[in-house]
Amino acid sequence: MTAMPKISRRSFIVSSAAAAGGLALGLRLPFGPEVVRAQDGSPEINAWVVIRPDDTVVVRVARSEMGQGTITGLAQLVAEELECNWSKVTTEYPTPGQNVARKRVWGDFSTGGSRGIRTSHEYVRQGGAAARMMLVQAAADQWKVSASECSAANSIITHQPTGRTVSYGRVAEAAAKLTAPDPKSIKLKDPKDWKIAGKPIKRLDTVDKVTGKQVYGFDLKLPGMLNAAIKECPVFGGKVKSFDAAKVSSMKGVRRVVPVGDTAVAVVADTWWQAKTALDALPIVWDEGPNAKVSSASIAEMLKAGLDAEQAFVGNRNGDAKAALAGAAKKVEAVYSYPYQNHVCMEPMNATARYTPDKCEVWVPTQDGEASFAALLSVSGLPADKCEVYKINLGGGFGRRGAFQDYVTQAVLIAKQMPGTPVKLLWSREEDMRQGRFHPVMQCKLTGGFDASNNLTGLHMRLSGQSILASVRPAIVEKDGGRDALSFQGVFESGEHSFGYTVPNLLIDHAMRNPHVPPGFWRGVNINQNAVFIECFMDELAHAAGQDPLEFRRKIMAGHPRNLGVLNAVAERIGWGKPAPQGRFRGLAQMKAFNSFVAAAAEISVEGGNKVKVHRLVGATDCGYAVNPAQIDRQVAGSFVYGLSALFMQECTVKGGRIVEENFNTYNSMRIAQMPKVESIIMPTGGAIWGGIGEPTICVAAPAVLNALFQATGKRIRSVPLKNHGFQLV
């Protein structure tokens, strides 16, 4: 028998946010000069750390937890420098409104690009260290000794000469009154000395997720709340022409039928099921506009024309690829393509809003509380001090809930039509799949040239397809002369997505072709297609040269030791170079993404010519520093599920300007029976730059399996998903 663990401390935060309208962080109470207090009155040592009298340490986390373990990892980093008792650590979210009011003391809230830990580790560790220094100083002041004679460990401060001790909770009040140390005086620990960070510590947020207590955005309850279901014009760019509210307004529970901007209609009812039932019955006439003519075939034609277009933006160039290819002794050419795909978070998009002319509040599962806040400010028209966003747990994010806040905009537009009434807007799964921000479509023509000795002398990789940034942040594209540098992720000339091979004559360019379907950041973003293109083509080149794919890669990876390190690691683990078990075939892939170096090796078998079993999938990650190896293992395995689902099953097709696939029956996702044995190798090599975790490995799963599939079947599959080629994941 096991006693039920106490209700997780996080649930208090959620429920208080829901009931009282949020945390009162930053509240200055009349007592205690200049001490900023948490809602329960506990003193804030600094923005990152609150310590309660019972020694509970509340670590503030600005990034969003959506399953990737970020709150645990960031808390580990703060706790490491704070020298606190890990069993006393809990976390909470500050609100975006407080961040604005406090001059962005918590920095960026954006939780995407695998940045949760890698771009905030330094300032959160400094926050922990500064709080420790203040607590030690407060104890020293109390004892009238020098702080240099005191040490801190496990939430206890000890005066070394006398052995006197005091716990953090007892000096927190005094510490909160001290001036923060000069950041320059803070010396962070060498990761070699870590005791909490770097360890496979259990997540802080598991228990509520197994008892049904965890509150997701979709579970929120507010007094007097109504529920809304929405339908937006299924043809992107289309508008509402008319709707006949009278047809449904007398249906049970229906309160209002409202336009939402000029593109959508919502039904507001007592319950969501009533709202959805009425919405399904509501006659809506759309003005679909010119995009209604677009189909998957017309989009493919548009992209195909870009493969040989004169004009293209250059992302990577070395030597003269065109001349080298013209003079090559042997040439290999292949055309690949990658489809639209939807994030399909298990929890469909939702947001709850309450509007009055004096206050507008939004409760939303969001990857970027500040982006939600910005959307709220824009739509409500109210000043920042009359707006607030409360972050609620996410049932998956994967890039859909960060840059795109359409559901927040809609929820506020609805709430503005019903002042004072909280309205929870929930998308149906069908709406969620129709109104995605889709993984962009891309085609790619690759041409490789060899000299007479089978050395690779030239490579041209021509991308043709959709730019995310041109749609989402055009200002960044304009600034770069029209180029979307993000489209070269994994094959770029430099930076966190730099190309992992050295080819004497290289040209990687992008003919931008932007269909009307709105693209988005989809876990891994552009590394997904780029890894399929370049890593499968590397195998094609090796095959053409009559060389082993690993040996072939090694020859052009001498200048890329960390790429080579992870590739060698997976090759060794899978048993590359040794015979595979009977009927099994292997494939490899590697890439640098989000400043991590990753590689995968797959071992598969194919039955009946089309039933593909992935037996083993080995993943290696060199992320510089590993904050929680247990969670990294889970992210790697999870990313492989996401990547293999995409490879085998997932395509959003376009017909009549709209997305055809509206639910899991036509847009499938992996089940446990299809799960390979995932072996994760974490091999951080340190250095100045920290790598990301949530996304990088997703991109190497597909090419590793495709390369194994060629070994097994002799077929080069050059378009995703495999279901279109009759292959099935079993």
Partner: protein, 154 residues
């Protein structure tokens, strides 16, 4: 009183204080170019900070159309009024946003419009008074997502 030089430093300090970096854009204005544009308006005069309240949302998710308002403290009498208000940005493609010319017949020196904000930056409004003095107010705005996209790959 703040000298023009002080004002320039203050504006730069605000932007730096955001702790956000952005690539040096070929096609985009720089804080220096903004100062040059300011100088064209004020000539050899100096700008004092105060009397001008510039308001924009502090966080922006879509910079295509952002509400901006300026209110200048002034009695707006024939003897003492605002003659012009100029709005500048540091990191839009061009530093100038809008210049409006008004006088005592306006009654109040309050204007509003909708602007494009390309990047996380400081926006500044400068009011030219009938006595020949210049006053300014600034605001830092954050365009969500753009910072994290720019400091990495691009």
């Amino acid at each position: 009183m703040t000298s023009r030089r002080n004002f320039l430093i203050a504006a730069g300090g605000l932007a730096g204080g955001m702790g956000l970096t952005s690539a040096s854009g070929r096609a985009h204005a720089t804080p220096e170019e903004m100062q040059e544009a300011v100088r064209k308006v004020i000539g050899t005069s100096r700008v004092r900070s105060g009397r001008v309240k510039l308001d924009l949302p502090p966080l922006i998710d879509n910079g295509n159309s952002v509400s901006l308002s300026v209110a200048v403290e002034s009695p707006m009498t024939p003897a003492d009024h605002v003659k012009a208000i100029h709005v500048f940005t540091e990191k839009n493609p061009l530093p100038n946003v809008v210049s409006v010319y008004l006088g005592p017949r306006a009654g109040r020196a309050n204007i509003a419009t909708r602007v494009r904000i390309a990047d996380t930056q400081t926006v500044t409004a400068i009011a030219e008074m009938s006595d020949g003095t210049f006053w300014s107010g600034s605001m830092s705005v954050v365009v969500t997502l753009s910072a994290c996209l720019e400091d990495g790959l691009i």
